[in-house]
C-alpha cells in the first residue's frame, strides 16, 4: 500500500488537453449550450436583457426552477423520478401559508415545520416505491394528482371557498427570518453602488436593482452543496451506485433503500423551499402554484446531462440546464420575434442547445 496513486506513463494513452478533460466531466457538459444561448440572445435580444436588472430578471425564475431541478437531478442520478414536486410546491406552500396566516406561527417554527412535513410526504413517496417495487414514475404520478387535489381542498377549507390564500406578507412582516427566505439580499450594498453610479438607477436615483433575490443565493448554495455531496461524500458515491445498478449496488453493500428514501425526502424539501420563497415573495398561494414544475425540473436536469436511466449526471449540469431553460423562456420576450412563435423557438432553442452541447463534447473528447 506504499505505492502512490501516480500512474506510470503508459504508451497506451494519448496526451489529452486540459480543455478536453474538462469537457468530459458531466458537470461541464451543459456549459457549451449555455454559451450558445447567451450568444444567440446577445445578438437578437434587446440590450436590456444583459444589463444587471435583465440578468436578475431571468435568473429569478431560473433559480426557482433550478432549486427544484437540482433535487430532481439528484433523484434521477439515484435512479428514480419524482413527478410530484410541482404539486408539492402547491401543497407545502399551502401548509406554510396555513401555518403563518391561519395559525399565526412565527417563521422560526413555521419553516422547519414545513420542511418536516414535506420530507414526510417525500418519505411516503419513497417508501411506497421501495415496498411495492413499482416504478417511481407511476407512484409519484399518483401523488401529483393527490397533492394537487389536496391543495385545492385545503385552500378552500382554509379560506372558506377561495382558491387563493393571502395575507402571508402581512403575517411575516417584521419576522427576522423573513429576509432569508424572501425579498432581496444585500440591499445596502446595492444602494451604495447606485449612489456611486456603479449600477443603473432610475431617474429618481433609486437603484433599478435593489438587491439579489434570495432565491438566486439559495440556488447557488444548493448547487454547491449538492455538488459537494455528490462528488466528495460517501453518500454521493452511493447515489451514483444506486442509480447505476440497483442490484449491483445493493450487492456491494450500499444501503440502496435508505439512499432512495432520503432522495425523495430531499426533492420534497427542495419543493418546500421553493414554496416558502415564492409564497413569501408573492404574499399569497393558490391551487395552481408549481403547475408542471416537475416537468420543467426534469427538462433542466436532462439538458444538464442527467440520464433518465439513472447513475449519471451532476448538480452543476442541472444548474446550467436551469439557466438555459430560464434564459430561453424569458429571453424570447426581449426579442422582436412574433410571440406566436414562442413555443417553436423554445423547442428549437432547447434542441439546438443540447445538440450543440453534445457535438462539442464529442468533438473535444474524440468520442464517436
Amino acid at each position: 500500500m506504499t505505492n502512490t496513486a501516480q500512474v506510470v506513463e503508459d504508451e497506451r494513452i494519448k496526451s489529452e488537453s486540459f480543455f478536453s478533460k474538462l469537457m468530459k466531466r458531466p458537470e461541464l457538459g451543459a456549459i457549451a449550450g449555455a454559451i450558445l444561448v447567451f450568444i444567440f440572445f446577445s445578438i437578437t435580444a434587446d440590450a436590456s436583457m444583459f444589463t444587471l436588472s435583465g440578468v436578475i430578471n431571468f435568473m429569478t425564475p431560473a433559480s426557482q426552477l433550478g432549486i427544484l431541478a437540482i433535487g430532481a437531478a439528484m433523484l434521477m442520478i439515484g435512479g428514480e423520478f419524482d413527478l410530484s414536486i410541482g404539486s408539492m410546491v402547491a401543497f407545502s406552500g399551502l401548509f406554510f401559508g396555513v401555518c403563518v396566516v391561519t395559525w399565526g406561527l412565527p417563521l422560526i417554527v413555521a419553516i422547519p415545520l414545513t420542511f418536516v412535513f414535506s420530507a414526510f410526504v417525500g418519505a411516503i413517496n419513497g417508501t411506497i416505491v421501495i415496498r411495492s417495487g413499482l416504478p417511481s414514475f407511476i407512484v409519484t404520478l399518483a401523488f401529483l394528482f393527490v397533492l394537487r387535489g389536496l391543495s385545492l381542498v385545503g385552500l378552500k377549507a382554509a379560506t372558506g371557498g377561495s382558491t387563493q390564500l393571502r395575507g402571508v406578507r402581512e403575517a411575516v412582516e417584521g419576522d427576522g427570518l423573513a429576509s432569508f427566505f424572501s425579498g432581496d439580499a444585500f440591499p445596502g450594498l446595492f444602494e451604495w453602488l447606485a449612489s456611486k453610479g456603479l449600477i443603473e438607477t432610475f431617474k429618481s436615483g433609486a437603484p433599478k436593482v435593489t438587491g439579489i433575490p434570495v432565491e438566486i443565493i439559495w440556488f447557488f448554495i444548493i448547487t454547491g452543496a449538492a455538488t459537494y455531496v455528490l462528488l466528495r461524500l460517501p453518500v454521493g458515491n452511493w447515489i451514483f451506485a444506486t442509480g447505476g445498478d440497483n442490484t449491483a449496488a445493493s450487492n456491494s453493500g450500499v444501503p440502496v433503500n435508505k439512499v432512495k428514501i432520503s432522495l425523495f425526502m430531499l426533492t420534497a424539501c427542495c419543493a418546500a423551499l421553493v414554496a416558502i420563497i415564492t409564497v413569501m415573495d408573492a404574499g399569497s398561494t393558490d391551487a395552481r402554484r408549481g403547475f408542471q414544475k416537475e416537468f420543467e425540473a426534469i427538462i433542466a436536469a436532462v439538458i444538464g446531462g442527467c440520464l433518465l436511466t439513472g447513475g449519471y449526471g451532476s448538480a452543476i449540469g442541472a444548474f446550467f440546464g436551469s439557466i438555459i431553460f430560464g434564459m430561453v423562456v424569458i429571453g424570447l420576450t426581449y426579442t422582436d420575434f412574433d410571440q406566436d412563435w414562442f413555443q417553436v423557438f423554445l423547442g428549437g432553442m432547447l434542441l439546438i442547445a443540447v445538440l450543440f452541447n453534445n457535438a462539442i463534447r464529442k468533438r473535444v473528447t474524440g468520442e464517436r
Binding site: P61, D281, G283, S284
Partner: protein, 284 residues
C-alpha cells in the same frame, strides 16, 4: 333532483372556482343536488365526453359553457333531444339558442375584452401587451382579440405559463425591451394580473395594468393605485342563476324569457375596496 354543470374551466382555476361556489350556493338555497364537472385541461373533446356522461345520468337540468360550438354541439343536441333542459353560461351566447339551450347567462368574452380595451385607450394607452397564461384556450384568445379591437392602438400577445414568477419576469422583460409599452392587459387576475402589477411597479414607469376577473390581491392593488381596474363578469351569478333557474324550472316549470348578461362590470378603485372581502371568500 339533480343538476349537472359541465364547464371548460377547472375547479382549481380561480375564476371557475367562483362559478362553482355559485352553483353550490344555489344548490343549497333550492335544495337540489348540483354537480360541477370539467375536463383536466382546456380540452373540447374531453368536454363533449363529459357532457355525454352527464346526459347518460338524465339529470333534471344541464348547465354548459360553449367555447367551441362545433365540438360541443352534438353532445348538447343529444341532451336537448333527451329532453333535458339546458342552460349555457359564460361562453357561447351567440350559439346558445340555436343549439336548443333555454337561455344564456354570461358575458361575451370578446365584448368584455372590447370594453376593457376601450377603457384603457381612454386612459391614454397606445401600446399594450396582452398577457395570456393559456394560449390556445379559445375563450382567453377571444378576450385578447376583443381587447385589441377596443384598444385600437398596437398590442402584442405575451404567451406565458401559469407560473407567477415566470410571468413577472416576462412582463418585466417585455417592458424593458420596449420602452413605449404603457398598458398591460392580464387575462386572469391571480395568475397573470398580480405578477404584472409587480413587474410594472418594478419598472418604475407609469403603466396601466388591468385584468380580467378578480383576486383579492389584485383588487388591493387597484385600491393602492398600482392597477387600473379589473373586469368582473360576476361569474358567481353565472353559476348561481343558471342553477337556480333550472331548479325552479324543475319544480314549477318557470324560466326567464331571455338571456341574462352577468357582466361586464369594470371594478375601479372606488368600488374595489368593497369587493376585496368577497373576493377572498370566492364569491367575486
Amino acid at each position: 333532483q339533480d343538476i349537472i354543470v359541465v364547464a371548460h374551466g377547472q375547479a382549481n382555476d380561480p375564476f371557475w372556482s367562483v362559478v362553482k361556489n355559485g352553483v353550490e350556493e344555489a344548490g343549497k338555497d333550492t335544495g337540489v343536488n348540483v354537480d360541477y364537472r370539467s375536463p383536466e385541461t382546456f380540452d373540447m373533446v374531453a368536454m363533449s365526453q363529459l357532457i355525454d356522461a352527464a346526459v347518460n345520468q338524465e339529470p333534471d337540468g344541464l348547465i354548459v359553457s360553449i367555447p367551441d360550438a362545433d365540438a360541443l354541439s352534438p353532445s348538447i343536441e343529444r341532451a336537448v333531444a333527451a329532453g333535458i333542459p339546458v342552460i349555457s353560461i359564460n361562453a357561447g351566447s351567440d350559439v346558445s339558442k340555436g343549439l336548443g339551450a333555454l337561455l344564456h347567462v354570461g358575458q361575451d368574452e370578446y365584448d368584455a375584452g372590447k370594453a376593457a380595451g376601450e377603457k384603457l385607450a381612454e386612459m391614454g394607452g397606445t401600446n399594450a401587451i396582452c398577457v395570456n397564461q393559456e394560449v390556445g384556450n379559445v375563450s382567453l384568445d377571444l378576450r385578447c382579440e376583443g381587447f385589441g379591437e377596443g384598444f385600437g392602438g398596437s398590442y402584442t400577445v405575451l404567451p406565458t405559463t401559469n407560473d407567477p414568477a415566470e410571468i413577472e419576469s416576462k412582463v418585466a422583460a417585455a417592458l424593458s425591451s420596449d420602452e413605449s409599452i404603457d398598458t398591460v392587459m392580464a387575462l386572469g387576475a391571480s395568475t397573470a394580473g398580480e405578477p404584472s402589477v409587480a413587474a410594472a411597479k418594478a419598472s418604475g414607469r407609469d403603466i396601466n395594468v388591468a385584468s380580467f376577473d378578480l383576486s383579492a390581491s389584485f383588487l388591493q392593488s387597484i385600491v393602492d393605485g398600482d392597477a387600473a381596474f379589473a373586469i368582473d363578469q360576476q361569474q358567481f351569478l353565472q353559476g348561481y342563476l343558471s342553477a337556480n333557474f333550472l331548479a325552479l324550472h324543475a319544480k314549477y316549470g318557470l324560466m326567464p324569457g331571455g338571456n341574462v348578461p352577468s357582466g361586464p362590470n369594470l371594478i375601479t378603485s372606488d368600488k374595489a375596496a368593497q369587493v376585496i372581502d368577497l373576493s377572498s371568500k370566492g364569491i367575486r
